[in-house]
Structure formats: C-alpha cells, structure tokens
C-alpha cells in the first residue's frame, strides 16, 4: 500500500528491514565529507584494532543516515521532524546490519507519527536504537 497521508499510517506498522551498505570505503567517504579527515577508526581495520577498537567503525552519523533513509524509502511522503539515536555499541564497517522501525504513536490531528528505530548487526545484537517523529500530509 502506498502511504500518502497520516491516515495511511497504522499503529504497529513495521518498516524494513533495510540492509545498508556498510563497506569500509563508505565509512571513510562519510568521515571525509563531514571533515573528520582520514581518521584510522573510519578508514582502516588493522589500525583501528591497534587503537583498541573491534575494527573500523561506521560513523554514528552514518547510522543515523541509515535510519533516515529507511523512513524515506518506505514513507516517501514523510518529513522527519526529529530523529534521536543512541549509540549503544559500535557498528563495524564491512559487517552487515539490518535497519528496522515500528510505528508507536499516531496523532492524526497534528499529522505526526512516532517511530522506534533499531539497527542490529548480523548476530542480532542491538547497536543503535532511536526514535523519530515524522510529519505527514493530512
């Protein structure tokens, strides 16, 4: 069903899973685009491990980007009013992850909906949780 307005949103509706590309060059490109340069933690697994990390990281803002992309992919009419992410544990580059969301509240008068957001890794461990408020046409 195409979701065009707030009345098309249903409580408990699930979005995803969206399986984003976590390739290491993507982490490096994002770090470069936001001005973090070529920090090893986003560009090099081996050097990251020497720094005590489990591997090169997916930048937290890219995790947020995955969540925003999921919302827009599944509800193109949505405008994200607020997105809030808690980085519970690192996302590691080159490791698959799954991005999902579920609708937890709907305000048809205001034309808004609340979503719980989640990113899990390939062993189903929660890495990022969050919430979003989206505005929809009434």
């Amino acid at each position: 069903m195409s979701i065009q307005s707030i009345t098309d949103i249903e409580f408990g509706m699930e979005l995803g899973p969206y399986l984003p590309d976590t390739a290491l060059p993507n982490s490096a490109a994002v770090a470069d685009a936001v001005g973090w340069g070529n920090a090893a933690r986003f560009t090099n697994h081996e050097r990251s491990r020497k720094e005590g990390l489990p591997g090169a990281l997916v930048p937290g803002i890219l995790g947020m980007g995955f969540l925003c992309a999921l919302i827009h992919r599944e509800i193109p009419a949505a405008r994200i009013q607020k997105v809030d992410c808690v980085f519970r544990a690192p996302l590691i580059a080159d490791q698959p992850c799954a991005v999902t969301a579920i609708v937890t509240d709907i305000d048809t008068t205001a034309g808004t909906a609340e979503l719980d957001l989640l990113i899990r890794n390939e062993t189903n461990e929660t890495r990022v949780v969050g919430t979003a408020t989206i505005r929809m046409p009434k």
């Binding site: 969206y18 937290g60 925003c68 992309a69 992919r73 607020k82 809030d84």
Partner: protein
C-alpha cells in the same frame, strides 16, 4: 562525586561556542547517498528544493562539546548519541551560524559506577536569525572512582 545539580546551575543554557559556517551541498549529498537515501532533495545538489540531510546536520555539533572551564569528570567523553530536530529546511551554500550550549546534564548509576550524560545543543540559524534546526550531541562520561 560531582554534584549534578551544581553543574546544571552553573552551566546549563549558556552559549559557550559560536561559529559561522557554510554547508557544501556535495558533502551533504555524499552522506545522504551513502546512507541509501532516495529523496532527490537530499541527494541531488541541483534539485530546486535541495536541503541538508539530517545526518549531516548531526555532524555539525561535533567539535568542542563543553565549556572551556567545565570540570574533568573522569575518562574521555564517549559519543553516546545524536539527535536532530528540523524546524525549517537547512539550505546549503549559504552562511549559517551555530550556537552551542549545554542543554541537559543527568546521571545514571549502575553496577560499574555512575555515568554522567551531557547533552550539548547547537542551534543553527540563518543570516536572518531564523532558527532552522537543533543538533544535539549526547556525551557519556564514566565518572572516575574516588577510591
């Protein structure tokens, strides 16, 4: 053990950092495309309604997160999360001004000791002083044991 209420009284809601910047459209579009974003207003800098991608806005609050005289609480702050509130579309290629203050301070205690959470908030204004967006950065500090 640091007094959270005293920290709040002294530091909350006081702007401690101001900076001017301009978002380059291609940089924001790069973050959006790599995220898997599909909406043209985020991935195509030539789009008439192009605006800065929310996750890119989150990156703007990176940098100095604390007032210069803020006391050391223990280890280095860990990036505990970020939030973006979009009030108006944030345009690329125009002068913007970011003003950062500490928005909240709270603690949580667990088996491994007390964690202090610091929320710094950058308010992003355009040249006409219109507030466009809020970018929150959540820092987590494990308090150093006194024993």
């Amino acid at each position: 053990m640091v007094d959270i209420e005293a920290l709040k009284s002294k530091y909350l809601n006081l702007v401690f950092d101001r900076r001017d910047f301009t978002v380059q459209a291609e940089n924001s579009a790069t973050v959006a495309r790599i995220s898997g974003e599909t909406r043209p207003e985020y991935i195509d800098p030539a789009h008439a309604a192009f605006e800065v991608f929310p996750a890119y806005i989150a990156s703007l609050s990176s940098g100095r997160h604390l007032p210069i005289d803020f006391p050391a609480l223990g280890g280095l702050p860990v990036d505990g999360g970020k939030a973006v509130t979009s009030l108006q579309p944030v345009p690329a290629g125009v002068p913007l001004n970011g003003r950062t203050h500490l928005h909240d301070i709270y603690d949580k205690s667990g088996r491994s000791g007390r964690m202090v959470f610091l929320i710094s908030r950058m308010e992003i204004y355009d040249a006409a002083e219109k507030l466009l967006a809020l970018a929150d950065s959540r820092m987590v500090i494990r308090e150093r044991s006194e024993s």
